[in-house]
Symmetry: C2
Amino acid sequence: MPVVTITDVASRVGVSVATISRFLSGGNVREEKKIRSVIQELNYRPNIAARNLKSGRSATVAIIVPDISNPFFAALVRGAEKASGDSLMAAIVNTDSNSEREINALANLYGRVDGAIFVPTKESDHKNGLSHFGRPIVFVDRYLQKEKKYDTVLADNARGAELAVEHFASEGHTKIAIISGPLDSTPGRQREEGFRKALDNSKIGANPNYVIVSDFTQAGGYAAMNQLLDLAEPPTAVFSSNNLMTYGALNALKDRGVRVPSDISFIGFDDFELSTLISPKITVINRDAEAQGAEAMRALMWRLENMDSKISKHSVIPVNLIKRESVTIPRTWDLQNSHKVKERQSQTSDHSNNKEKVNE
Amino acid sequence: MPVVTITDVASRVGVSVATISRFLSGGNVREEKKIRSVIQELNYRPNIAARNLKSGRSATVAIIVPDISNPFFAALVRGAEKASGDSLMAAIVNTDSNSEREINALANLYGRVDGAIFVPTKESDHKNGLSHFGRPIVFVDRYLQKEKKYDTVLADNARGAELAVEHFASEGHTKIAIISGPLDSTPGRQREEGFRKALDNSKIGANPNYVIVSDFTQAGGYAAMNQLLDLAEPPTAVFSSNNLMTYGALNALKDRGVRVPSDISFIGFDDFELSTLISPKITVINRDAEAQGAEAMRALMWRLENMDSKISKHSVIPVNLIKRESVTIPRTWDLQNSHKVKERQSQTSDHSNNKEKVNE
DNA sequence: TTGTAGGCGTTATCAA
DNA sequence: TTGATAACGCCTACAA
């Protein structure tokens, strides 16, 4: 595999390397046609490393996410990649939600990428490490509370939680619970805050027993839902703060034979592929994950062209409620209207997957 | 942001750059302690591009997949990344199952990566392009029929399809259909072949009407299932050749009110996150996607250390059948045994409490 | 429009 | 053990 360089092309064409280089960067040259054919013939490709060395750029950006197999992050990455076009290469790095791996990744990436799209696991880490990175970073879905100078692309997390609570309330629920993500992560904290705020606004108020702080994992959602069901007075409505916990929570519900929505109403944050295939179809707070990724990439690309700009940009991705079938009037309300209970029971009696019901 | 180079460190310590370089690569130097502290003090980091230029290596490999938001590929990437450790950076490239983008990606990657893990969309493309790449490529899940020299890591696709057919047959099905992937993709072709072979072996034989060649997408699976249901004599059992088509097929079934498994039995290739949350739980052919990715990365890393080895390595990832609830005795068979129909009907009114069984 | 030559930061060779 | 120096392949003043 003989390595063919710009020099080979030049000597073959009979011009200097400068001419070839000029041609390569779109300048005007006389022998354009011949150069083109020789490049073809020799199958010349510019050496990127050499180009990088000169330019001080790598034309590569990193996308650092906690877990690529989480559908949300997969969609995010996809959107970011699409937005980058062919001008930039994206190196995806998985951190497994591990702060240590995050720090290593950053160190490892130094000098190899022009910038990064970064979804940190916690808000608290990276107090100093980031300045060493010395390159633009766009924070997505999370940010560092102390650092205002970085560009961010966040979802309207608080609003999402509010929408969920408002929807529950409008159906008559007052025993509303949240399976929250970690409070030291931006979405975890903001969604929990939005949840509380909406509850306060609606005069219902938050019941501490109905706030379970979990960890954004499926196992965490499973445990949290069981914890709620074990309460002497379980909630009639549950808001799950992300998709993986939704999976877990729904599994817990299924395992315990608790029916949705007749026994418990449910809303999850972030839509997921099979949300319409399961019974009942799950009502969710949704946002456009691909759009969020694309926006982040655009922000980063803009920043790369405007490194000296002092203004930081903060985008907010809107959320919306997708009403499906997992929310209905609360069970307690039914009990006060016994004629309706019978009606409902005879309807659901052929659903067949009922086991023991949760006592209230 | 002053860029500090090896020269700065050298002059500060009072030695030559050669000494610093030697230190950096683990050689013995007298001023080791002082060098270490100066590097710390100046916050020196080697310039990767320069190092690459010299060494001709980038310590980066590409992972080229059709769609990162497909759970299978997400898991594959995850596995590959884990296996790479910190020694290699992985650049993930999405091709959107687009051959043109694939070719561009390869061209774009030239010189920036030391090698690639490649999941091509079709078997037929890249007849020549690959040699231009000039770097080791490990083919995963797909390969090029004409090219035996590349390492491959494939799943035991044919066996998977056979397992599905055998399971259907053992329950008494004879009207067995396949929603196949494209026949110019390795898994599409191999699974279709395994399907036919198993049907031949079991003396049932393949019915051309029961072979729908689709495209591995959700929409494709949806259309294909509808096509099967529109037949004068629909199949009693359907095998879907990948997860996305399974989603689509199940949606079609749901939309048309066809019950699984009482009306139709179903097996999908590749397990998916929510396979146990939907009713009925879906029986699938499974393989370890992360293990497959890890194996591919190991193969690539081995190859990078053994560039001159002429032997190509071909690994096969085993598959297994996970029995859940989507397969039962065929409906037609029931009809010929009317006394059993009633029995079955009362049974299925109480479905969904079976436990999951994994054979092997 | 073209060519010459210096330099990007690092590593490797070869003397010392 | 060390240091001077020549690459690595490309780009870009600057001069022609």
